[in-house]
């Protein structure tokens, strides 16, 4: 399965990044381009718990394709969310279920951000996403 175009672009950029500073700058740029979330979507039901920062994740299915929206009050986490969304946006349930998101972040050189002990909450976001797309 080939990568979505935006995901391929992100992958090219991140694999060329050298050092933590450049990766952090790229994350902030990605985060700034994240589609803003309507205030009405920032509800308790959409909150991802288990993060030290505020994170919201919205998932809707249109014509069999998943559309996700997400944001956070922390900048670098917004970047991580943007990197997640470019990979999963528009996929069907089967494709999404077969996707190894840990592998995706490993390819990006960001696997350490996924540790359950990390307070940034990306781990919790992935768990919630899996739950959203599998529950009827």
């Amino acid at each position: 399965m080939s990568l979505p175009e935006a995901a391929q672009q992100a992958l090219d950029t991140f694999t060329q990044a050298k050092g933590w500073e450049q990766r952090a700058r790229l994350l902030m740029q990605m985060g700034d381009r994240l589609e803003p979330l309507d205030e009405s979507d920032k509800t308790d039901a959409n909150r991802v718990h288990g993060c030290e920062s505020l994170v919201w994740l919205v998932a809707v299915q249109v014509d069999g394709q998943w559309r996700f929206k997400a944001t956070s009050d922390a900048r670098l986490l917004r970047g991580l969310l943007a990197l997640l969304l470019v990979r999963v946006q528009g996929l069907g349930s089967d494709d999404l279920a077969g996707l190894d998101l840990r592998e995706w972040f490993t390819q990006l050189g960001l696997e350490r951000q996924l540790s359950p002990s990390r307070s940034n909450g990306l781990h919790a976001v992935l768990l919630q996403m899996a739950e959203l797309v599998t529950s009827p």
């Binding site: 933590w20 902030m28 030290e52 920062s53 956070s72 009050d73 922390a74 900048r75 670098l76 307070s119």
Partner: protein, 401 residues
């Protein structure tokens, strides 16, 4: 000027962490361990493990002797009158839960328990849940602007209905020593029992439980450079006599029959099941190591590093330190910058600090904060560790701003 730690080489993990480009500034969460402890664990396991207080054979006798010697060492460390006043638990949390269950029978609906507004969840939730079970009133003693219990208010709030006060000695978030002598004396005069959470306090300086005048004092070994999975509960003999047994099983029983049993007094009556034998022995070895250090030199080193930390934070624009830290640690937030972003960038640069609510959610909420960054020091830290932290903080802030 470079301030070395004369004890750094005694902690092999510090060198190992340095090879991984990690600067460890999270000792208030748990500490690195001295070689003396590693040697004691290795000696115990390589010379014959055995269960304690049960077996008549030689390995059992040796293990029991080493185990009970550790009890003596803890008693000496706290200046308890008698080793039988020391109960081994699995940590400070389990010691506090033991107290909340063991003392439950003495409470009646409407009685009051006083805690401070800065308690770690471990010294809040057992009392909160006890209050719910028994319909008690949990009174929260307010803080002053420095992050110390507001003495004037607290003395008014602790009254004849107060049956127990449970207070931290040194705050794990604010680094402030609490005015315990006055509070404990007042509680005693009101006929209340007193519990001191020494989880942070026991690590800095030597504390004399008799002089402190508390009924109970708890601490965790792993924060005191010892192994994890073990803690201690000190109790005044009269106070220990008020405890009901709470966990039942091997070793704590005197006589058991199918329908009735009788139980041992403290300490063994409160150590049901096989205790963490190696960890208890390891704690004893750690205390021997700590007792061999020059206390004045340790205190001077810790004070000087702490001043360096607080001054460095205060010098930086936009940094807001929580309270007025006096020892061991400092927590801070930065105007206009999310804690999670700072934490992320410090982690990227190999700085191990703690970010978040520090197991004190109500305190952070009371300060109007979602979280904070905490830098905490151990006796192995040196000024280079702090310099690396400050450099990383500056770099991170430059990137974020």
């Amino acid at each position: 000027m470079f301030q070395p730690s004369p004890w750094r080489a005694d902690f092999p993990a510090i060198t190992a962490l340095q090879r991984q480009h990690q600067t460890y500034l999270d000792s208030a969460a748990t500490t690195q361990k001295p070689q003396a402890l590693l040697d004691a664990l290795s000696h115990y396991y390589s010379h014959g493990a055995a269960n304690v207080h049960r077996a008549q054979h030689l390995p059992g006798a040796l293990a029991t002797q080493a185990f009970e010697t550790s009890r003596d060492k803890v008693a000496t460390w706290l200046n308890a009158v008698d080793s039988r006043q020391i109960i081994f638990t699995h940590g400070a949390t389990s010691a506090l839960n033991l107290l909340a269950y063991g003392l439950e029978h003495g409470f009646e609906a409407g009685d009051e328990i006083a805690v401070s507004a800065l308690e770690h969840h471990a010294n809040l939730l057992p009392w909160q849940q006890l209050a719910q079970r028994r319909n008690l009133r949990l009174v929260v003693l307010p803080l002053d602007e420095h992050g110390r219990i507001d003495l004037e208010h607290a003395l008014q709030l602790i009254g004849p209905r107060t049956r127990l006060v449970a207070l931290s000695q040194l705050s794990n978030v604010l680094g402030t020593w609490q005015p315990l002598p006055a509070l404990l004396a007042h509680a005693r005069a009101q006929g209340a029992l007193s519990v001191v959470d020494g989880a942070q306090g026991v690590v800095h300086g030597r504390h004399d439980v008799q002089q402190l005048g508390c009924d109970f004092y708890v601490f965790s070994s792993h924060k005191l450079y010892g192994p994890d999975g073990v803690g201690a509960l000190y109790g005044r003999t009269e106070a220990l006599a008020r405890l009901r047994h709470w966990q039942f099983g091997g070793e704590m029983v005197q006589l058991a029959d199918y329908h009735e049993s009788s139980f041992r007094p403290a300490p063994l009556g409160f150590e049901a099941g096989t205790p963490p034998i190696a960890s208890v022995i390891g704690l004893g070895a750690t205390l021997d190591y700590l007792a061999s250090l020059d206390p004045a030199a340790v205190a001077a080193h810790e004070t000087s590093l702490h001043q360096h930390l607080v001054r460095g934070l205060a010098d930086r624009e936009g940094v807001r330190i929580l309270g007025t830290p006096q020892s061991a640690l400092a927590s801070f937030v930065i105007d206009g910058v999310h804690n999670a972003d700072i934490a992320h960038l410090l982690t990227e640069q190999g700085i191990a600090v703690r970010a978040g609510h520090h197991c004190a959610m109500p305190l952070l909420k009371g300060l109007g904060l979602e979280g904070a960054i905490r830098v905490s020091l151990g006796l192995y830290n040196d000024s280079d560790d702090l310099q690396r932290f400050f450099d990383a903080l500056d770099q991170g802030l430059e990137l974020l701003r």
